[in-house]
């Protein structure tokens, strides 16, 4: 078995080498627009651009880094008006408007190449719309419950394996005068994470995908079951007060100060938590536990991507850049703890030896049989996502408004799809 794997990898290496040898003749300029504007990602994309430039002497790489938030609206303008050769974006339904408008290049050919086909198979689904692939991923990260190990020890708690354990842990935390979970829902999407997990654990991955695809009414009883579970936590007082006033960063201090014991978040929360002074003894991670035992576990693992705009001038170089970014070594390098600190998309890469990343990688590769979702606002179309996440926030503050909220979401569903 191992031998076979080795051969495949070796083969892939040769193909990769052949590809880059051929690509040495690339010329002209390669324009990259990137949203990797935070300090660590910025260093990564700058290095990628510089290395790729050095690799191809006749090619000039021009990199423009745009503020990550601003990029989300700006991409509409530059894709139509002044397209670069390579652009960042997100996987799944977030690609839909640009794919439908014909602004992203179909890169299914890349996905036929053995190296990509073999090693990126796990993310292929997220890059596929209408049966074609529209880009390549460069990183992804797990979601799950980050918790204060020291508080759990102090109270004698174990990582919960099921919903009852989850709630009884929470009750003990509440009894000790703390809140179970911190969350800042001012910008809404954090509540989307809670919905994703509760719904995937209650109704399963396929149901969740059907729901975000608009195939199931929001007033369905199964959706209500999800909210009923959520309500159990809300009625216990599990979440911090006034979360609607905080951003996700502003909610971090509650966990750092020990006023809340855990945070359902993406792995990007680890860095600021460590910076704020939490040590590895204080911080740990567990997978969101099962609620309905008949449902296979599924996870959120948002994938960030590179695409070639249809209006790109140098598509040959752009394709080569995409190959370069997903290659095993580059993937190992850029996702390392000193760089992005996330998970590589190439299965031949190695995961940085980090407590959280190891657990996340383990979880996603072996304990997520149900499937891997992107995230609520990437799986659902924009209009549905914004109305729904607003409803989630309202539900967390006024759970009694549920009927009203669901009717509103249902009306939006009928309109938006």
């Amino acid at each position: 078995m191992n031998l076979l794997k080795g051969t495949v990898a070796g083969l892939a290496m040769t193909v990769g080498l052949a590809a880059s040898a051929q690509a040495a003749e690339l010329s002209g300029t390669l324009k990259i627009f990137s949203d990797m504007s935070n300090p660590a990602p910025r260093a990564v994309i700058e290095q990628l651009a510089a290395d790729f430039d050095a690799l191809h002497p006749d090619l000039t790489v021009e990199l423009t880094v745009i503020d990550r938030e601003a990029y989300k609206t700006q991409i509409r303008n530059f894709l139509t008006a002044n397209a670069p050769d390579v652009a960042n974006w997100y996987a799944a339904n977030r690609m839909r408007p640009y794919v439908s408008a014909g602004l992203f290049e179909d890169v299914s050919d890349l996905w036929q190449e053995p190296e990509i086909a073999e090693n990126l198979a796990s993310t292929k689904g997220a890059m596929t719309l209408d049966g074609q692939q529209w880009g390549v991923p460069y990183t992804y990260y797990q979601w799950g419950v980050y918790y204060r190990e020291d508080i759990y020890k102090e109270l004698g708690l174990e990582e919960p394996k099921d919903w009852e354990g989850f709630k009884s842990n929470c009750q003990k935390i509440l009894d000790s005068g703390r809140k179970c979970f911190t969350i800042g829902s001012k910008f809404l999407w954090t509540a989307g994470g809670w919905f994703d997990y509760l719904n995937m654990r209650t109704n399963g991955y396929d149901f969740h995908m059907a729901l975000t695809n608009g195939e199931i009414p929001w007033t369905d009883d199964r959706v209500r079951a999800t909210f009923a579970h959520w309500r159990e936590l809300i009625d216990m007082g599990a979440f911090i007060d006034n979360h609607q006033s905080y951003s996700w960063q502003e909610a971090l201090p509650f966990m750092v100060n020990g006023e809340a014991a855990a945070y359902l978040m993406g792995n990007f929360a680890v860095a600021p938590l460590r910076e704020a002074g939490l040590t590895d003894e204080q911080l740990d991670f567990y997978q969101f536990p099962a609620i309905n035992p008949d449902v296979e576990l599924a996870e959120d693992a948002p994938t960030d991507t590179f695409h070639i705009p249809s209006g790109a001038q140098n598509k040959e170089a752009a394709r080569e850049f995409l190959r370069y970014v997903v290659s095993a070594d580059v993937q190992t390098d850029i996702n390392g703890g000193d760089k992005l600190g996330q998970l590589p998309v190439n299965s031949a890469s190695s995961v940085d030896d980090d407590e959280m990343l190891n657990q996340g990688f383990e979880m996603l590769s072996s304990n997520s049989p149900g499937g891997i979702a992107q995230f609520f606002d990437r799986d659902a179309p924009a209009e549905m996502a914004s109305v729904a996440m607003e409803g989630f926030q309202e539900f967390m503050v006024f759970p009694d408004n549920l009927d009203d909220i669901l009717n509103r979401l249902e009306k939006t569903r009928q309109r938006a799809y």
Partner: protein
Amino acid sequence: MSDRLMPQSERAPSWIRRNRQAMAPFLFLLPGVLFFLFYVIFPVIQSFNLSFYRWDGLGEPVYVGLENYTELMDDRAFEVSLWNNFKWLFLYLLAIPAGLAIALFLNQNVIGIRLYKSLFFFPFVISQVVVGLVFSWFYDPSFGLLNQILGFFGFGTLNVLGDPTLVTYGIIAAGLWPQTAYCMILYLTGLNAVDPEQVEAARLDGAKGLRMLWYVIIPQLRPATFIAFVVTIIGALRSFDLISIMTNGGPFGSSRVLSFYMFEKALSEYGFRMGYGAAIAVVLFLIMLLFIGYFLWSMYQEEKGGR
């Protein structure tokens, strides 16, 4: 100068010479009017037009007739925004009496009064972005000054910006701060021009205090009141910065107003429903049109009187 000019104008072709005075205003107006048409008047018309289309800013717009408007009728978020707009309109007008009160308080001749006046005016000069930041700290549920004060008097904490019933009032209060300063300066100037003889005459008749204010002073402050009214109404309907900074429309959309909602629908991360956004803008415009009509009408009356 005229010596040099005379022969020149004689040499000039007679048509230009005859029509010079008639032509001149149009040449002077041309650049300004073009700019204004291009960037203000046409866009208003375009927005009206766009409101009958469905368009995501990427593909071709699709004509949908009144669909956007019928959807508005049934859109709760729109209803909330519209209602909030009315709250803004009415409560923002408080800036006028408040500004008058401060102006009356400061209308004295004591040492340093000029400095006091300008310091009182200060809030108007700083940008609304900063005002918004300052007030969101003031309201912060965990450390805000407001809750410190409430706590001092033994009241429980209040999360003004997180409470859907309070949030709009909280933002309006922040907006009133600079707006009151503006009205104050208008009234200070107005008070300067109040006819002292009339005041003295009224004093001899025994008028003082509130009666004096109501029957003698306020009528004389009419022009100041008119301008204060105009700028306050415009400010109320344009309110965007504070909402965007302080709450981003939340919690769950309860602090939106039309101008913010249309921005959200048209240009925000999850938006790009250009036609729908335009329809919201048209509604806002129609509300404003009532006031614009009133302003123009009173200006027209004045112009007629002035001739």
